[in-house]
Symmetry: C2
Subunit: 660 residues, 2 copies
């Protein structure tokens, strides 16, 4: 054990184990999580070479191997609870992806929810036994976010009772679905349904892609890998071009909409039912943002405690780089953010399960709010976490660029969450739509409830005259007071966005153009709303913590989170009259004090995330702090070191020397 990191742990003022229980949601959950982690970590079948040493084809191969093994192991161990499966997978995947990910996340759930009874009986056993290896093909080369724009067609032919599937243009080629390129022999394909000369919009169809015996693509199916990406090396994201592929009528998923034998289209009863999965996945991503940032902070903070560099006081030994104020200012607010997002993730999970219960009883009333919240928070947390991972990486200096730090892998694996499952700017604008709608309702005298209820107050309290005359009451040492300030900022920015739309309308532009011409303000309002929600939930979490030591350190983190947000957005708080200039200096001063206060607990706070070395897979983030020996050992395994002299010497350098 590195003595620096041992000393850090000795100086901590709280019980790390207890904090781990809080993060897991209880001592029993911690215990079970660790059992599952041990199953994976101690399993010799899962020992493999660092993926970074492999070619892309080898990485894909290794991922398929692992996925196949995992399926057998889960059955062997009898792990079937979704949360436990999730836990098992997140250990065995490491920072990477599962080859059969879409089969589990999209193919099976879509079959479960959109098959009618006969279809269920046929397809679910095939999928559960992996005879049908499936993916979900929605996105096309020319169409992502805007589903109505999708071009793939399914034209019903009553003569044969088949759908004829086509990719009529180059932009209609399915593009990006994971597992589509090489792995899947089936896909659920989203296509525009044409029957009896009319288009009825998007429906889902089960399309066989490859022979179930030979895995060779079927006639009319042009399928393959879309090529290397920024990360995701082990996934065969694919393309799919359909050329008059005929599938039987009962391959359209018919639980809701139907096409009868003669081609008659029968409408689905409600459109709300497909909402759920999307909301669930976005809620999960919020937790993932906390997870990715927590891993990054663990690596950067442990490394900062063992890395010595430069000097603060001349003549003294090189200090730990964590002693530099600038290093603390980079890392500690991100550490606070990681805690915040973990707690928000817990909250989203609870809300989701509560509302799902309501929905199954036919009560959809909270769905729009959850939809708006999950969209905005997904964007808010993934943007911040992505940028934060890079800050952590660069805070490790040169070694942060080495793949042995794991930080490059964490970044390229996480950053796509900014784009998939709803592009972030689009997500922010969806939340804004809900905020503006709520604001207008409040303005019209309706009493709002739920998370937007603050917009009721805004009508009363945020009149232009009152802003400047309202006495500033924010106490920068009091979290409740800061939550209030965030709330009023959100209210003010929602109001400003609404007024911008109003002003645009007065220029006689259309509603739609007024919206687009106010989009910058709308995103800003959503951002402020989400920021308020996060601060509020962090503060609420403190209320649940009884232990004094824990409460103290988490309060420091929460205060740091809130104050750093104020400093970063000081213009908003000054502009809206929520803070005065002298208070802003207090904020800066207080931030520095909080950094110093957190310094002795920094390592313990990342220890509490409880990532085992085998999960972090980072030389810089090792629990024992013995970084350099292991970096050397790792480097010696680099494929370029397999021979003393690389063949390029004989091929190019020796001839060059001879030529000159």
């Amino acid at each position: 054990m590195n003595p620096d990191i041992t000393r850090e742990r000795e100086n901590a003022t709280f019980d790390v184990e207890k904090l781990t229980h809080i993060l897991d949601g209880g001592i029993e959950k911690t215990k079970r999580r660790r059992e599952i982690e041990s199953l994976v970590i101690s399993d010799p079948d899962f020992q493999s070479e660092d993926l970074n040493f492999l070619s892309r084809s080898e990485r894909y191969d290794a991922a398929v191997k692992k996925s196949a093994q995992m399926i057998l192991k889960l059955r062997e161990y009898g792990i079937s609870d979704p949360e436990e499966i999730y836990c098992y997978k997140s250990v065995f995947r490491g920072h990477h992806h599962e080859a059969l990910g879409l089969h589990f996340v999209m193919f099976l759930p879509t079959l479960y929810t959109q098959c009618n009874k006969q279809q269920f009986k046929k397809w679910v056993p095939l999928a559960e036994s992996f005879k049908a290896l499936g993916t979900y093909a929605q996105t096309e080369m020319g169409h992502g976010t805007h589903l109505r724009g999708l071009e793939t067609t399914a034209t019903y032919d009553p003569a044969t009772q088949e759908f004829v599937m086509n990719s009529p243009t180059i932009t209609s080629i399915k593009w990006w679905p994971g597992g589509l390129g090489k792995t899947s022999n089936y896909a659920i394909v989203l296509a525009q349904l044409h029957t009896q000369g009319k288009c009825h919009g998007l429906q889902a169809f089960i399309v066989p892609l490859r022979s179930m015996n030979t895995h060779i693509p079927l006639p009319g199916v042009v399928v393959g890998d879309i090529g290397p990406k920024f990360g995701f090396d082990e996934v065969d994201n694919g393309y799919l071009k359909l050329e008059n592929v005929r599938i039987p009528r009962d391959h359209m998923l018919m639980k809701y909409a139907k096409v009868e034998a003669d081609g008659t289209y029968v409408k689905p009863p409600s459109a709300k039912l497909t909402y759920g999965t999307m909301v669930f996945i976005r809620s999960m991503i919020v937790g993932e943002a906390g997870h990715a940032l927590a891993k990054s902070c663990t690596i950067a903070i442990r490394y900062s405690s063992v890395r010595h560099q430069s000097e603060i006081r001349p003549g003294e030994a090189e200090p730990q780089i964590m002693d530099y104020q600038t290093q603390q200012y980079k890392l500690f607010p991100l550490l606070a953010t990681a805690y915040a997002y973990k707690f928000v993730g817990q909250y989203m999970n609870q809300v989701y399960h509560r509302i799902t219960g309501d929905i199954s009883q036919g009560d959809f009333s909270e769905l729009p709010e959850l939809h708006a919240l999950s969209a905005g928070l997904k964007a808010f947390t993934t943007w911040t976490a992505s940028a934060g991972i890079e800050v952590c990486r660069m805070a490790c200096g040169g070694h942060g660029y080495s793949r042995c730090s794991a930080l490059p892998d964490i970044y390229v694996t996480f950053v796509p969450t900014c784009t998939y499952e709803g592009e972030n700017t689009v997500m922010m604008l969806q939340t804004a739509r809900f905020l503006i709608k709520s604001y207008r309702q409040a303005s019209a005298g309706h009493q709002l409830s739920g998370i937007v209820s603050y917009l009721n107050e805004s009508e009363r309290r945020l009149q232009p005259q009152s802003v400047s005359s309202r006495p500033t009451v924010v106490n920068v040492n009091d979290l409740a007071s800061l939550v209030e300030a965030y709330k009023l900022r959100a209210a003010k920015l929602v109001e400003m966005a609404a007024k911008s739309i109003q002003q645009e309308l007065q220029k006689r532009v259309s509603q739609e153009d007024a919206w687009n011409n106010s989009a910058i303000d709308l995103v800003r309002a959503s951002d402020a709303h989400c920021h308020y929600v996060v601060v509020k939930l962090f503060a609420a979490k403190l209320g649940e913590i009884g232990d004094t030591g824990l409460h103290s350190v988490l309060s420091t983190l929460a205060l740091l989170y809130a104050l750093q947000g104020i400093q970063q957005h000081s213009g908003d708080f000054l502009q809206t009259g929520l803070l005065s200039v002298p208070q802003l200096s207090q904020v800066s001063q207080r931030l520095k004090e909080l950094l110093a206060q957190l310094r002795p607990n920094a390592v313990a706070l990342v220890d509490a995330f409880d990532y085992r070395d085998e999960m972090l897979n980072s030389v810089l983030g090792r629990y024992d702090g013995n970084v350099y020996e292991h970096m050397f050992e790792w480097a010696r395994r680099s494929p370029l070191n397999k021979t003393e002299v690389h063949e390029s010497y004989h091929k190019y350098l020796k001839p060059l020397q001879a030529n000159l």
Copy 2:
């Protein structure tokens, strides 16, 4: 040609070709640049498969091949002017690196400047004929920025007149130098010189690493590749452990310091002489930041003009995504920044050459200012450009993640500039040291000159009482007025940092601790100083533009750049009383107008950067806008598509299906 992008070009209001001349520094330079580019692009020897389809070993192989070819070509074409060589190389490298980069950038220049006459005669011909393939080994596993901390030793043995080179600890192993792993047979090694029982600090030594005949590592030399990184796949960044390697006395570079035969150490005459290269490289990086951002903007803006998505007005066709205000707000300020950095790069280049002239005549007076300026601007521009590349990438939606967009390569190739040649936070603090020193001189009544002369005024004008009472005079439509505002902001933030140090000192902490406890404020002050310099230089450039059309569009860009900076740092401008709250609303409004104003010229403004398709190597950034056909074509060449069925199917999936 895609009709959308054709229409964009038809709508431009200025002469693209003329703007290209300005960016190149004159019509003749444009002409010559294009000639050189054509040499590379039309050369069949340089045609190669996309590096993204290759394994790391193959990429390294391809890079060595290209470097060897390039050396012969440059001789064949008689290109010897450094600027022309730089141009040639930047085309042939693309977004990647040169295998022999360090040989040219560090090994040769160090020999040129630090050899004495006899050494020069021996080593320069060996290096110029590539018999000696060299690199520069400074950084160690445990030591980067802080040179005094380096641990490698060179102990003089008068008995044999040799230096004994050693890596005494694991942290002393040389780590990171490019070309060290496999390519080089020599290295200039920085080591602590020990002679006659005393350590005389760092000196440079020529150390043979590999046999000049067989390329096999010499006895005592443990050398290899440090393993895969975030980018730089084609470079063999290496490690070097020296175990009692003996080299003759005359392998120490002795132009300045010397060790005589008996071991007597002779001090160098001046320490300033080694300053120059560092300043030069940092100045170059500023230009590179403009370059990287310009390439990214070219890709994202061209793609945004041909990509259609969603809807603004219901019922109408999907609009070009560049019509969304949020997309404009992401890209156009970055476009303005790219222009700003290109102009700042030109300026740094001129200043460097002017000051180098002075230095060669013994006048070092301007060196500290240039040193401070290049350090801060290097940090300021590389941070912004790195984040900006990622914004451009994500503005391309899913396709920005494909390696065919080139944006991942641009990012991973550029982002290390934040860390190498001086870690950015350290750089900011070096600039801050100069600013604080200047501020103290001004406070003591000295009249400052040069770029910091504004600190003279600050003493007179920025007294606390005057800040609040000073009438706000900033005109948000007038660039000169905005330059003034940036200047006063910088002055105020330098003052605040100085006062923070003062306050710390009053707590009876040491100077060094006071500095560290104010580091956040110091970085902020440097940042504001650099921002002021960039705005000022952009405004100054406008003064050189005679053409009305060009002047108009560049003025719009400059105004956008200045106002967006104010919006992003609105807290500073409000806090220092430079702007009022109503003015801030004006800034937001004006920004939106400027976005709309730039919209018709966006494609033409990136066309003016004049990157040929072969240099961008981006399917999304193609000049003809025909994105989708070429993306499909590129994907089909993916190595995973070489076989219809991947071997993993037979190895893992078929057995799995049989097992269940």
